[in-house]
């Protein structure tokens, strides 16, 4: 690629000027009179653009700065406008040139952000056109360079200002239709959807503070830009994997611990209600932390209240409480129904080794239909010793699940912020 810099006098206005941009420059637009000159035909006049309004940009032709560690020169400035639904968006492209690295663009976006764009030689395996976007049922995605990018917008932009040299042949009034996708830290713009135009893929990224400083730019963003949203948290995958692994580990520990399961401490069998109150004495071996009392009674359309009192070997009451069981059933126009249960469980803390005495009493009972009618005839009681409680492990699993969900949620919010300005709307 040649690095030649040519000096010419504009054939229209006579102003002397420098044509930056090397040997691939096709068009040069005189910054003084707006004449478009054909760089491939001895700078013959192609057109003349009058009543031009220069875009608000601090950069001028010939300004130099650094991109990707290489010095680039501003060779051309193009002002763009997109109008839709009574609104308009304007941005300014600055074509840059390096003798060793070719051409690119730096752009002052409508939001005040500064981005840098270069052409990609690598094409996506699938192409996305405005028509295919229109017919898509869900937000389209494309894979490029191993990265999945989400559809962002379709744009038809018009050139409204030109100045300097370009390695293509732009004309004021030309329109270009593009489809833009966004991924972590980059936007991909596709263009060339008609048979007459060549397909192009451009890669846009936010200019780094160092690159901006090298061009003397002080970005003053005043709106949202998808590239201004930070990339995915670098520990995202690790935290997700780790949290999932610990959820699985918690499950394994729970299964192993649960497998050590209950030991039968006492079984009073069926007790006729006339035998109540009834005392059950049971020995709690070392390592047993909880005792589970399982009650069953043959209730039918009624309720019964059971008082339970537990004393240790020293006669201290460690727990006194009550438990109600109720059971109702019937048939209505929706079929058979039942409510409540004839079974009930009370789990209480014990500390082995010790001997405990449990007293079970049924001081109150009643029927839902006929007041205090007794509806049960017996109660059975069984006591099982447990060496663990599943709740702390359950809470541990919940903590890991929350870490997992929070990490996913944070990334989802980040993606939502990135796509906030997208023109895609999901139909209900």
């Amino acid at each position: 690629m040649t690095a030649e810099i040519r000096s010419i006098n504009c054939p229209a206005c006579g102003a002397g000027q420098t044509v930056h941009g090397g040997g691939r420059v096709q068009t040069h637009v005189c910054p003084y009179c707006g004449s478009a000159l054909d760089a491939l035909d001895d700078f013959a006049i192609l057109a003349r653009y009058e009543n031009r309004l220069r875009p608000d940009t601090p950069l001028n032709l010939g300004d130099r700065g650094t991109l990707w560690g290489v010095e680039f020169t501003i060779i051309g400035i193009a002002g763009w406008v997109e109008r839709y639904d009574g609104r308009s968006w304007r941005w300014t492209d600055h074509q840059v040139f390096s003798p060793t690295h070719g051409y690119g663009w730096i752009t002052r976006e409508d939001t005040g952000h500064w981005t840098v764009t270069r052409k990609l030689r690598k094409f996506p395996k699938q192409w996305l056109s405005p028509t295919s976007v229109e017919t898509a049922e869900s937000r389209p995605h494309l894979w490029i360079d191993g990265q999945r990018l989400a559809y962002y917008e379709t744009s038809t932009a018009r050139i409204e200002y030109l100045e300097g040299a370009f390695n293509w042949a732009p004309k004021v009034g030309d329109t270009v239709e593009t489809v833009t996708l966004v991924g972590d830290g980059r936007m991909i713009t596709l263009s060339g959807f008609s048979g007459a135009s060549e397909r192009e893929v451009e890669d846009t990224r936010m200019m780094s503070p160092e690159d901006c400083a090298s061009f003397g730019l002080t970005p003053a963003p005043r709106g949202r830009h998808p590239l201004a949203v930070g990339p995915r948290w670098r520990h995202h995958g690790f935290v997700i994997t780790c949290a999932a692994a610990f959820i699985a580990l918690t499950g394994v520990v729970g299964v192993v611990q649960g497998g050590s399961g209950g030991r039968n401490l006492a079984d009073a069998g069926r007790l006729k209600l006339g035998e109540l109150p009834h005392e059950i004495t049971f020995d709690v071996p070392e390592g047993t932390r909880l005792a589970k009392l399982q009650l069953y009674t043959d209730l039918n359309d009624g309720w019964a209240w059971f008082d339970v009192e537990i004393e240790n070997e020293d006669g201290d009451v460690v727990l006194g409480g009550g438990r109600e069981l109720s059971y109702y059933s019937g048939v209505d126009n929706e079929g058979a129904w039942s409510e409540g249960s004839r079974r009930g469980t009370v789990t209480f803390p014990v500390s082995g080794p010790d001997r405990y005495t449990m007293t079970i009493e049924m001081p109150e009972y009643g029927s839902g239909n006929t007041g205090d009618r007794q509806t049960n005839s017996f109660v059975s009681a069984k006591i099982t010793g447990l060496s663990y409680s599943w709740r702390p492990l359950g809470a541990t699993g919940v903590v890991f699940a929350l870490i997992l969900l929070a990490t996913f949620g944070w990334d989802s919010l980040r993606k939502a912020r990135m796509l906030a300005g997208s023109d895609w709307t999901d139909e209900d």
Binding site: H235, F238, V239, C242, A243, F246, L249, T250, V253, G254, Q257, R289, L290, L293, W303, W305, D307, V308, E309, I310, V317, V318, L319, G320, G321, G322, R323, E324, S326, G344, T345, V346, T347, F348, P349, V350, S351, G366, L386, S387, Y388, S389, W390, R391, P392, L393, A395, T396, G397, V399, F400, I403
Partner: protein, 54 residues
Amino acid sequence: MSPVRIVFILLCTAILGGGYYLSSQGIWGATGVTSVRTGSAGSGGGPSGIGRVK
């Protein structure tokens, strides 16, 4: 592996270890009592819920 990741793994291990320890102590294991008259919950924590239903 970065220090942040090591700290995270240690934190997760500590949470799991703590959960296992509390579980093996029977903490939060008392359930099913709908009324408490007297007594102490002891080292295992108190039963949940109070009040007669009927």
